[in-house]
């Protein structure tokens, strides 16, 4: 019998949802926050053979404190290899070796396209965001992309204001037309309300599972496109005891994950 303690917070559930998408032996390119937590939960539970890279140039880091950026000092001592962007983004990502990429976006649409460039008009933005960084190449070239987003009608969109990072672009066949590698693309959108997956034929995100304190109706209502619901839609499995143990005792003893509650992940 799998144990599910009921004292978890929503960001912990989201980190566990991410972890469950990672397979043993996967090579995962991570940023800070959710990606690192998810990949590490996976590593300490079902996927001990997963290894992580940071785009800044690090392979298989062994940090002794939580990394607060992908260039964090704690990623240096103990890593198996350190190069730079040309090595990680060029040789390994463009070279086709990365199994899983993890992205978040201020705005995500039904095809899994992500906007981290500008809200509003590009030339006269309401809000200027940081830009692509590594997101576009990860979304273009990693075999599976996991997307983290807030579930509301501002963060999700029928169509993002600016496609910084490609999901399925404007639908079936678009990635192939542009020559993006076969079999790549977003796999899942994990929000604070639900897990959405992509329909094989339409490439649109549909509701696969809703989190314990919400419902199909609420999720549909919070989604700005006509959200299809899986025939076998179910409640998301809450964090398992072993996942929470990995997270709280090994990875994040100071519960820094709580900052995501302040950012709206509740």
């Amino acid at each position: 019998m799998v144990e599910h303690p009921d004292d978890y917070i929503k960001p912990e559930l989201m980190a566990c949802c991410g972890a469950r998408e990672i397979g043993d032996g996967d090579i995962v390119i991570v940023g800070t926050g959710f990606p690192t937590m998810s990949a590490n939960i996976a590593k300490y539970t079902h996927a001990p053979g997963a290894t992580m890279l940071q785009e800044s140039g690090v392979y298989d880091a062994r940090p002794t404190r939580p990394a607060l950026s992908v260039g964090d000092p704690c990623l240096n001592p103990g890593a198996a290899m350190i190069g730079g962007l040309v090595e990680v983004m060029g040789m390994f990502l463009q070279g086709g070796w990365i199994d899983v990429g993890f992205l978040s976006g201020s705005q995500v649409d039904k095809f899994g396209n992500i906007n981290t460039t500008a809200i509003g008009d590009y030339d006269r933005p309401k809000s200027r965001l940081p830009g692509s960084g590594g997101a576009n190449p990860i979304g273009s070239l990693a075999k599976h992309v996991l997307i983290i987003a807030l579930h509301d009608r501002r963060s999700l969109a029928e169509r993002v204001d600016f496609i910084t990072t490609p999901g399925y672009l404007d639908g079936p066949g678009a990635r192939e037309k542009w020559g993006l590698p076969r079999g790549t693309g977003p796999k899942v959108i994990i929000t604070n309300k639900a897990v959405m997956r992509f329909d094989e034929s339409t490439k649109e995100a549909y509701l696969a599972s809703y989190h314990p304190d919400t419902s199909v109706d609420e999720v549909v209502q919070l989604t700005p496109w006509k959200l299809n619901v899986a025939d076998d839609v179910r409640e998301t499995e809450p964090p398992r005891a072993e996942e929470l143990t990995a997270l709280r005792e090994v990875l994040d003893p100071f519960r820094m994950i709580k900052i995501y509650e302040k950012r709206g992940y509740v």
Binding site: G84, V86, M89, N136, W178, G179
Partner: protein, 311 residues
């Protein structure tokens, strides 16, 4: 031949208004001593580039030094969006910079192509996205799409970049400019080698003999280097592996200050215009925050095993 000089002299002699600058670093080793000197000398109309820019670029933009930015990303990391950058783009304060946007794959490869004397380089990212529509001062030359001459598939080509000057901060260099670096590299090696001239800022100047004990760590050869400046603590508030940690609390200080134009000006007055060089800056840091705080940033020693190149 010794190229050792002060940062002030290096910036005065080798950075001209209107130049195209590569400024290395990735939280790791930003050349802050030189960035502050560029602001202090009020250099103008610069085009600047690097993958994943941060507080150093934000300061240059806020101080009015930048005309154009070949960018992939800019933020204050843990502390969110870059304030001066946003004020520039959203409100034209102090003026609106021109942006040409690439990614953390395409830009490093453009620098690599520049370093290798290649005219352009094919990249597999950016296609199909709005990064293709957003074109600024590079116009049609931001990229070109071709059909691969080998298999007919669509291929994006991006141009090589050759900055006028690269400024990097490394752990050690000799007086002639052979520069050695270890730890997270970002696009530092390629940006430096793509440039016509390199200014090497370093934690310590070592002998040519020391360089020769571990030559595989050299990322830029002396013949590309025009100036060597010794700047201990020169990457602060960024870090240098083996020397000192990131100063997160100073990062927060900068975020708070740069929230407003007035706060940002006060920050410049205090930490850049109010000191004459990095030595005074460090002295001021210790005076203001106390020696224990300074000491706490210093790295512990954890040496690797010596390597032998003997035959």
């Amino acid at each position: 031949m010794s190229k050792v000089m002060s940062t002030s002299e290096a910036v005065r002699r080798f950075v001209n208004d209107g130049d195209f600058l590569f400024i290395g670093g990735y939280v790791c080793r930003p050349p802050f001593a030189a960035v502050h000197e560029i602001i202090r000398q009020k250099k103008r109309e610069l085009t600047v580039t690097r993958s994943n820019a941060a507080d150093d670029f934000d300061m240059l933009i806020g101080a009015g030094c930048v005309k154009r930015f070949i960018a992939t990303f800019i933020s204050l990391g843990l502390y969110g969006l870059a304030r001066c950058y946003r004020r520039s783009i959203e409100k034209g304060i102090p003026h609106k910079i021109e942006l040409e946007e690439y990614t953390n794959l395409s830009l490093p490869l453009m620098l690599m192509a520049g370093a290798m004397g290649m005219p352009f380089v094919p990249v597999k990212d950016m296609v199909g996205t709005d990064l293709m529509k957003a074109k600024a001062f590079m116009g049609e030359n931001k990229y070109r799409m071709i059909d691969s001459p080998f298999d007919g598939s669509p291929v994006m080509l991006v141009p090589a970049l050759n900055p006028d000057v690269a400024i990097i901060h490394v752990q050690q260099a000799d007086e002639d400019g052979n520069a050695q670096m270890w730890g997270i590299g970002g696009d530092c090696k390629w940006g430096a080698n793509a440039a016509k001239k390199v200014i090497v800022s370093c934690e310590r100047i070592v002998s040519r003999e020391t360089i020769g004990k571990d030559p595989s760590r050299t990322i830029v050869p002396a013949f590309k280097v025009v100036a060597v400046t010794e700047e201990p603590f020169g990457a602060h508030p960024g870090y240098t592996p083996g020397f000192y940690d990131v100063d997160f609390s100073f990062g927060y200080t900068y975020q708070q200050a740069s929230n407003t134009e007035e706060g940002f000006q006060a920050f410049l007055d205090e930490w850049i215009f109010g000191v004459k060089d990095r030595a005074e800056y460090t002295h001021k840091y210790i005076q203001k925050f106390g020696y224990p705080q300074f000491k706490k940033l210093q790295a512990k020693f954890d040496y690797s095993y010596p390597v032998s190149y003997a035959f």
